[in-house]
Symmetry: C2
Subunit: 588 residues, 2 copies
């Protein structure tokens, strides 16, 4: 035995708080001796406050925070998070096994328990080109790693429903190892949903309404309530009114006593609190602690809220963390009380890794190979060409929603001049392009509405999930410049405007997704970019994150891959031009 | 706690035998309570005899026994072996990750502790074509698996010595995980050997003489004494006379008392007993138990002999087996006594899996994909062509040694007729060919001496390490027929003779390396083939195993890859024709 800690522990199995002697050996809890007392003030505690199990984010992509795993640990430990289940499919899409090895190795450099999901969909679909393909045999091998606790989100819903052999093989491998399979089924419902769940998929984090989540929950799924930077579902899934209506309907309110009913509505109904994707600016504000506090404010029992990031993931993923119990990792968060919910100390493996605002460890600088295999772009690469010189067309335009991964398809009239369809900046119809960076060297063009920038271009080497280069702009010149700037820098986020003499870059040299800075440095740089983008007219809270999801084909409705405009509902490529309205001139 | 066993245990740490209560929980030893007694006959033992730790073969290729891992477990458990460290590079060369997954999954079906080495050299060299390439990132991922305890034999000695980046990266990955790196350095000595060891390589199992082994040992290597079917080093490394001379020189015999000297010579000097490659016929006769008995017969202390397959591998590879100690797996062998050394019972995870000649489990039949991607061969494919019609040449011929992986290069005079160099069956100079089976569809031809068959052809889809099809024969017709028979059967061992109407096959449908039969069935079938081969004139004990190593380029001196004749000392391809002696006719 290495040490003994005496504290008031939260026992998430008994829903109780009591003073306890915790014996710790090799980072694990060896013995728990509850201290019998009639007067708690008698007990000589090592720390005042309540000792909770360290928090676990059950579904997140570290890469979205633009920092390395070890810097991620530094960022979240002050907020009481001691574990994440990271689906590393972003870096896997870029660098394959090399990327996964990098994440695991870098994570091991710090006192933090990284668990992983084996990426199930690399690439996410067969309608795009990524830097790597993880077939079912590689996924099986990855699933065999100790740190890998699940098969990651099965975004290829169509593949599951049509019984794609590779996907079924991956699911089977996970089942054989008793590791759960995570889902990703936005707006899926009815028979399709049943079939998806029957395939063995156990969780979903894509519900954007209470009704959607309840349908999934009733069919046996565990529901992850996601509150990320780009997708925010907390308010839609966890508000008190919905819970009241739900419990009143469910249990037949007439037969419930008022007291019983009051207890029921303090139950959050859903299972996990997760972040999925957090940009560094949001990550700097807090982590799961913010969500717990917010949930307690909706009148949920504090212990039930805490279970969503401790007991529930521990049980579902069979983790050796998340519960203060014998045999589990000695990962704790010391808070003052449930009302204030201040994080006083964080422990990993029995050691204090954070206290009094100070971290006890540092991250290590890393290097890793990158993949920017493409030629220099010229403005003409971003022309959308027609076979007539002048006229008007009805074009399919991607309509972006702020704070959502879901887009809409809208049809807009656009002019054709000199054989190219023209953007219409006055109506906020801008150009968008996805540029292949893995040797294909192709450019797929389209139109996008919602960003409202009046001049310039925004580009990113973070473009889910294949992470080609994505760019939007008011003109071809700035678009080409932005893409070339990323290529030359081997990854990054860029804003360019020739007119306003803007050319600002946040470098992301690790896979084009991450950098070596700590979260506050990256947040500062990103904030700077956001401010510039705001000056150009865009009012989105996370314009780069919103941009990055416009190439994620597995989320409705209209997206752009490096191969072209993609209808994510019909799951097929479509033409930009829906209809030619008139041809004014067809000759030179 | 699940159960208690009371027995006389061999404590390999204290070199002592005493009665002990063994508490077992979940397959592991939870507690050991020695029973204090003045009269051992007082103790109420559960079993008479001595309880040893289960034996561990620290280096073997399961595939060489032509059976699946689960059938391998069935084969060795009656001989007291409860673990092997398997280098699965044979199947990995054929099927890559899919093959490794197959071995791991199949091994899990039976009560046996399979540990693995991550294959370091797939393919073994860059001078041959295999079915898969395992790069340093895949190897790193494999090294991260729990069951993988070392980086497998670094056969690419030249790569280590020239600082090949991929190889260094693999070594570095193993070191970072504190997993030892296994060596493979036949006849390497002096500066080269030092450099090889300095790279971080910790073991060698290729020493074929006492002096070779001692040089390696003195430089810090752990020496594996190998006694397989094709390579037998036991007698050369462990004979008593060598030990006597060694200890006399070493410690300055004059200063040693007779008693001290007598103790020293009972020390085996070397570290492990391993099998490396066992054909099913040999495997049927016994396993590590045979080697222990043989070693005890050379006057080594029985406990020291047993340590070579228990304590030593346990320590070197950091295994949770191999010692009867708290926290270790409850794997035991019950023997009657050191003189008889009869295996009475075998335990795995605290359960009896073998007793009174009976196994308590069975293997599961499996299927796995294969790779035979080649066209039908015709006799002319095996012609060795010259640019003159008739004459005589001096040709480089592979000279085979029975019971050794090492070959010699010999120069023989051969006739040229009709633009082809002729075999000379009367002088035992036969044809040999390696036929690519991974889509390359090429045939590399050469000459071989030693097999002494008078008629027909012998072919095999087991051909180290790339496992293309290897064939020797007295004539092209039988060679083509043998190769085609293997292709049609998706793997196997074949003997053909048109003249004698022989066409016998042992099917190996799993990767062309293994079949679903149990060891006795395969041994019977192989014996049958051996008998036929004997009738054809070959007197080798394991003709197929000898044949299979003629394509292993990393062992001296002259070998044949699917790309041509290879000088394994100079590490380069060489021409079959060393010199043209005379040209008799150069026209049609």
């Amino acid at each position: 035995m290495d040490k003994i800690i005496v504290a008031n522990i939260l026992d998430v199995e008994l829903n109780d708080i009591y003073p306890c002697e915790i014996h710790i050996s090799d980072g694990y809890i060896e013995e728990l001796i509850p201290i019998a007392t009639t007067d708690p003030s008698d007990v000589d505690l090592d720390f005042e406050g309540i000792l909770l199990p360290g928090f676990i984010d059950s579904h997140t992509h570290i890469e979205s925070s633009l920092i390395t795993p070890s810097n991620y640990a530094k960022a979240v430990i002050p907020y009481g998070t001691t574990s994440v289940i990271a689906d590393v499919h972003e870096i896997a899409n870029v660098l394959g096994i090399k990327g996964i090895n990098f994440m695991i190795e870098n994570g091991r450099e710090v006192p933090f328990d990284f668990f992983y999901s084996a990426p199930s969909c690399v690439p996410a679909t067969s309608f795009e080109n990524s830097g790597a393909i993880l077939d079912s045999e590689i996924v099986k091998l990855i699933l065999n790693l100790n740190e890998v606790v699940s098969l990651g989100e099965l975004m290829n819903v169509a593949g599951v429903l049509t019984g794609d052999e590779e996907i079924l093989h991956k699911i089977e491998s996970a089942k054989k190892l008793n590791k759960p399979v995570d889902g990703h089924a936005p707006l899926l419902s009815g028979e399709g949903l049943k079939q998806y769940i029957d395939a063995g998929i156990t969780t979903d984090h894509e519900s954007s309404s209470f009704d959607e989540a309840i349908e999934k929950k009733k069919l046996g799924m565990k529901i992850m309530v996601r509150e990320g930077s780009s997708a925010k579902n907390f308010d839609d899934l966890l508000n008190k009114n919905d819970r009241q209506i739900f419990w009143a309907n469910e249990e037949d309110a007439k037969n419930l006593s008022r007291d019983d009913y009051n207890v029921l509505v303090k139950n959050p109904i859903f299972d996990f609190l997760v972040t999925d994707d957090l940009n560094p600016i949001d990550l700097l504000k807090g982590h799961l602690d913010l969500l717990i506090k917010k949930l307690i404010e909706t009148d949920v029992f504090p212990i039930e809220a805490i279970k969503m990031v401790t007991f529930n993931p521990s049980k579902h993923y069979n983790l050796d963390a998340g519960i203060i119990a014998v045999g589990k990792k000695a990962n704790f968060v010391l808070i003052d009380n449930f009302d204030q919910f201040n994080i006083l100390k964080t422990f990993v493996g029995g050691e204090i890794v954070y206290e009094d605002g100070k971290l006890m460890f540092d991250a290590k600088e890393v290097q890793t190979q990158n993949t920017f295999n493409l030629s220099k772009k010229i403005p003409e690469d971003f022309n959308i060409i027609t076979n007539f010189k002048e006229g008007k067309v009805k074009a399919c335009v991607i309509k972006v929603r702020d704070g959502s991964l879901i887009t809409d398809k809208t049809i807009k009239q656009l002019d054709v001049k000199d054989y190219t369809i023209q953007e219409d900046v006055s109506k906020d119809i801008l150009k968008i392009a996805v540029v292949n960076r893995y040797g294909g060297d192709t450019v797929a063009n389209g139109f996008v509405k919602g960003f409202k920038i009046k001049d310039g271009a925004i580009a990113s080497s973070v473009a889910h999930d294949s992470h080609n280069i994505i760019v939007i702009g008011t003109n071809n010149y700035d678009m080409a410049k932005a893409v070339n700037h990323i290529t030359e820098s081997h990854g990054g986020l860029v804003v360019c405007s020739r007119k306003k003499e803007i050319n600002e870059l946040l470098e992301l040299p690790i896979g084009g997704l991450m950098c070596n800075d700590d979260v506050s440095t990256v947040a500062f740089k990103l904030k700077n970019l956001h401010n510039i983008i705001k000056l150009l007219g865009c009012e989105f809270e996370s314009p780069f994150m919103t941009l990055s999801f416009l190439s994620l084909l597995v989320i409705p409705s209209l997206k752009l891959s490096d191969e072209g405009l993609f209808d994510s509902e019909e799951f097929k490529f479509i033409d930009i031009v829906e209809e030619i309205i008139e041809i004014l001139d067809n000759k030179d």
